[in-house]
């Protein structure tokens, strides 16, 4: 039986647990309100005396490495998702932990993927106590059905850095998958048979974890150049046959959506940036690898060429479409958080203008600024938006976990945040009275673009003025919502959820923004 959990109402009106996995929580108090004054965490001081003078930190296998790191019951072990659904290292590390008899681990991945569904068995066997990291597919279902022993904690990429740095999560052992590494532990992601691009998601763990293990299938003689992960932070290096399935690490080609409705949305987004005067020389934007976002880049590219406009930088997830912008002189730089296709990987490995970034440089809210707020426009998706422009990206309307937060929350800091969404999916309206799970506060969401029209947040009078008189189909959000409800035959019923919290959504500052409830 789950113990009785006390709830508090936060500034967004959401009921959130005041304790999560035995740790007291601060409910969300508003955008930019929570500013802790403590000091950052730090790993223990080490001496070179304890590491081989010749730099060779190799051990025979992961079990030895984990044993040497002192992995014990109840500790926190972390992994990273730069190999995406092709990753083999996370399960390798968890299974090795099981073999050495360790129980009740907190698994702290930067994101989990469907191919890691056997983590469920490890939870059933007691090896993993709970997961703090994005969960979807079978793992998401396991969590929302209330089967996980602890509570899930969903953090943005920036929020994960913040949590490590601020000491909310203490990583005992970080296991980092490295497409290329040397025996000292220097590691890089842009070369090797399992090349994936940036290793930025693992950077915080490499700096703050008590112990760091690098696992590679492409050991090169010292020095591994470049070294995004510095060997000076690494305890052990393990060589394995394969760290992942290259076919699932990066896609050979990234597909632009063919759906006419989605293309229409993408074109509206690009036209909006042009009409609002955001698309101008020296501007910057970020778009992900979803079908709409990719199509948006193509439309924007054509408009940039027509108007003779060049960007100073664009932010990835990089794909061949961003690489084309770079190669055609339409942007000076790509600042890349993760790399989605082969063209992206080749470019980041060979073009100095295509730069790896990390959640620290891009997203960490508890730093001396970050890049996200310097980006002029960002194009994001959402599963739901509500009439107050609040966004949900983690659950579907039925309350089941669907996506991780990724960089989504962090990106809301951009100059113009655009959610590009179809107005309904399978009869289910996307614009609702109140989002199922609040992931992004409406005050940070500026524009919602659907195939039926564009709604500008009334808080952004500047954008309303800038696009006045344009041919864009700008309409009140309520209008689009009413039209969709007419088409769909009325408002959808609200699914009934239980009052048992199974996960929390953290805001970028570590406060609790909302709760994911067990589904009934």
């Amino acid at each position: 039986m789950p113990e009785r959990i006390e709830l508090a109402q936060n500034a967004a009106g959401r009921m959130v647990p005041s304790m999560v996995n035995g740790k007291p929580q601060i409910p969300y108090i508003g955008v930019g309100k929570y500013q802790p004054r403590g000091r950052k965490q730090a790993p223990p001081v080490r001496s070179s005396k304890d590491y081989p003078e010749n730099g060779d930190k190799r051990v025979s296998d992961l079990e030895t490495a984990l044993r040497n790191c002192g992995l014990r019951d109840g500790m926190t072990i972390s992994n990273h998702h730069h190999l995406r659904d092709g990753d083999k290292v996370a399960l390798m590390a968890l299974e090795a932990s099981a073999r050495i008899g360790v129980k009740d681990l907190l698994w702290f991945p930067s994101a989990s993927f469907p191919s890691q569904k056997s983590a469920i068995d490890l939870m059933e066997k007691g090896v993993i106590h709970h997961i703090e990291g994005s969960m979807n597919g079978p793992l998401g279902d396991y969590c929302t059905q209330g089967k996980m022993r602890g509570m899930g904690v969903l953090r943005s990429h920036g929020g994960r850095w913040q949590a490590i740095q601020d000491g909310e999560v203490h990583v005992d052992v970080a296991v980092i998958a490295a497409p290329t590494a040397d025996f000292f532990g220097n590691a890089d992601g842009s070369h090797g048979k399992s090349a994936c691009g940036s290793l930025g998601f693992a950077l915080a763990d490499s700096m703050y974890a008590d112990h760091v293990i690098v696992v590679t299938d492409n050991l090169v003689p010292f020095p591994c150049i470049p070294w995004q992960i510095q060997g000076n932070n690494v305890d052990y290096v393990v060589e394995v046959e394969s760290i992942g399935d290259p076919a699932k690490i990066v896609s050979g080609t990234t597909q632009i959506t063919r759906s006419p409705d989605r293309l229409r949305i993408a074109e509206f987004v690009a036209s909006f940036l042009r009409e609002a005067g955001i698309m101008k020389n020296g501007f910057s934007f970020q778009a992900g690898a979803g079908g709409i976002a990719l199509a948006f880049v193509q439309y924007l590219k054509a408009m940039m060429k027509e108007d003779g406009v060049k960007a100073r930088f664009v932010r990835g997830g990089s794909t061949k479409f961003l690489v084309e912008l770079l190669n055609e002189g339409l942007t000076d730089y790509i600042l890349d958080g993760q790399t989605f296709d082969l063209a992206g990987v080749q470019s980041i490995g060979s073009d100095p203008r295509h730069v790896s970034t990390s959640p620290f440089t891009s997203y960490n809210y508890h730093g001396k600024g970050n890049f996200a707020s310097m980006v002029d426009a960002v194009v994001l998706g959402a599963t739901e938006v509500d009439v107050n422009f609040n966004g949900n990206v983690v659950t579907h309307s039925d309350g089941r976990l669907l996506h991780g937060i990724g960089g989504w929350q962090n990106c809301l800091a951009s100059g113009c945040t655009i959610l590009a969404v179809p107005s309904f999916r399978d009869r289910i309206p996307v614009i609702v009275d109140e989002v199922t799970t609040l992931t992004g506060p409406g005050e940070l969401i500026d524009v919602i673009v659907t195939e039926r029209g564009i709604a500008i947040n009334p808080r952004r009078q500047d954008l309303i003025d800038a696009t006045k008189g344009s041919k864009l189909p700008i309409r009140p959000l309520q209008d689009i919502k009413a039209e969709v409800e007419r088409i769909c035959g009325g408002k959808p019923a609200r699914p009934k959820l239980t009052d048992n919290p199974v996960a929390v959504v953290k805001w970028v500052d570590g406060t609790v923004l909302d709760t994911v409830w067990q589904i009934s």
């Binding site: 006419p260 409705d261 309307s397 039925d398 009869r427 019923a493 699914p495």
Partner: protein, 401 residues
């Protein structure tokens, strides 16, 4: 309770499965007693399950179906689709003859003018609801709900009911609402179902004689009287054979309701026994003849479709060539073709500028009471003025002048 001469039987309608969207499958088993037993599986059950069950009951009540077991697999269908599939299943089961279960109607758009812009007409298969729902958003001049070639012969009854409901319940914005009926005589049955919903234009396939058109025209007139429809329903015969092309002039002149002639090149080239090419040399004569026949009675000549959705350059070339031959539009099979077609059929800025000058010169001459119009040192003949006026009018319709 059966109103049909045929015995009642179990029947199905619609589609379901992992890849099906916006449709549903209904399996209906008539019973002698026990009322309506409705079982539903739906991917939107949590949100609309109760609504779907209530709608099913309401539709079956309206159709007079009192006792049946009904299994519904729903893939997120909208209400007008749900009604159509239930009605189709009930009719196939022999439980219903003439009753209809009509969905809520959206307001009718303004009646369409005979000479309105018809640059693009987007084909929508009559049995695939997912394509029609947002079709109007993509801005073709017309949409065509197709009952003919895109519909398997076993699905003709289902398509007719779905197209009827689509005409009634879907807002196509400023698009002209066209329906392509089946070849006669089946097409006459289509008319009975769809004319009450006031389509703006009927495409009649494989027309070869003026008499065929007269038959359709007569039937529509009768139905318009019966259903008190007081707005035009235009005709666009599709000529798809050598014989049809030879009779083009008579067909064009057969009714004042003919707004345009068009050609179906797949069937036409098959009839000739030649290959259809992207350049269209093999159909040059037929298309020229069709343009002449249309212009002779002052109706529009509309070209066939361009089948390669991936080849935008080919489409543009085809469209520009088409316009140069005298066509005013063509069909499209994917929304991505619409913009290219509109660009191809638009007069160029140079043409517009020149025409505007001619029209201005004509207006000036009229004001001054001059019989002769001149532009600079050149005298402008009346046909040039006429052409310029037409071009300017069209350009204005396209928002270009």
């Amino acid at each position: 309770m059966s109103t049909s001469a045929e015995p009642v039987r179990a029947a199905e309608a619609g589609h379901w499965g992992k890849d099906i969207r916006s449709d549903l499958h209904v399996a209906l088993e008539p019973r002698d007693r026990g009322g309506l037993e409705i079982a539903l599986e739906s991917r939107v059950d949590l949100y609309y399950g109760d609504s779907i069950r209530a709608q099913a009951r309401q539709v079956l009540d309206a159709l007079g179906v009192k006792h049946a077991r009904v299994n519904i697999h729903d893939e997120g269908a909208l209400p007008f689709v749900i009604s159509a599939r239930l009605e189709t299943a009930a009719k196939r089961a022999g439980l219903v003859s003439d009753q209809k279960a009509l969905p809520d109607a959206v307001p009718l758009p303004r009646p369409s003018a005979k000479d309105r812009l018809r640059r693009s007409r987007l084909y929508l298969p009559g049995t695939e609801p997912k394509y029609s729902i947002n079709a109007g958003l993509h801005g073709p001049d017309a949409i065509i709900l197709d009952l003919e070639d895109s519909v398997h012969h076993a699905e003709k009854d289902a398509a007719r009911i779905l197209v009827r409901n689509t005409l009634r319940a879907v807002d196509f914005g400023a698009c002209e609402r066209m329906v392509r009926i089946n070849q006669l005589p089946l097409g006459l049955q289509d008319l009975v179902e769809i004319i009450p919903e006031s389509p703006d234009l009927i495409l009649i396939p494989k027309v070869e004689y003026a008499e065929q058109l007269a038959e359709v025209d007569r039937m529509i007139s009768e139905l318009k009287v019966r259903y008190q429809i007081n707005r035009p329903i235009w005709l666009m015969p599709i000529l798809e054979s050598a014989l049809g092309i030879e009779n083009a002039a008579a067909i064009a002149a057969s009714s004042s309701n003919v707004a345009a002639l068009t050609i179906g090149l797949e069937d036409y080239t098959a009839d000739l026994g030649v290959a259809k090419t992207p350049e269209g040399r093999e159909s040059l004569y037929a298309r020229s003849k069709l343009v002449h026949a249309a212009k002779a009675v002052d109706v529009q000549a509309i070209d066939s479709v361009f089948g390669d959705v991936g080849d935008m350059d080919g489409l543009r070339r085809w469209g520009e060539n088409s316009r140069a031959m005298g066509f005013e539009g063509m069909g499209c099979i994917h929304p991505s073709q619409i913009r290219v077609i509109h660009e191809a059929f638009a007069p160029t800025q140079t043409e517009i500028d020149k025409a505007l000058k001619v029209v201005a010169a004509f207006d000036e001459a009229q004001q001054k009471g001059l019989g002769v119009v001149s532009l600079g040192s050149k005298m402008i003949d009346p046909p040039v003025v006429n052409r310029a006026q037409k071009l300017v009018a069209r350009a204005r319709q396209m928002g270009k002048a």
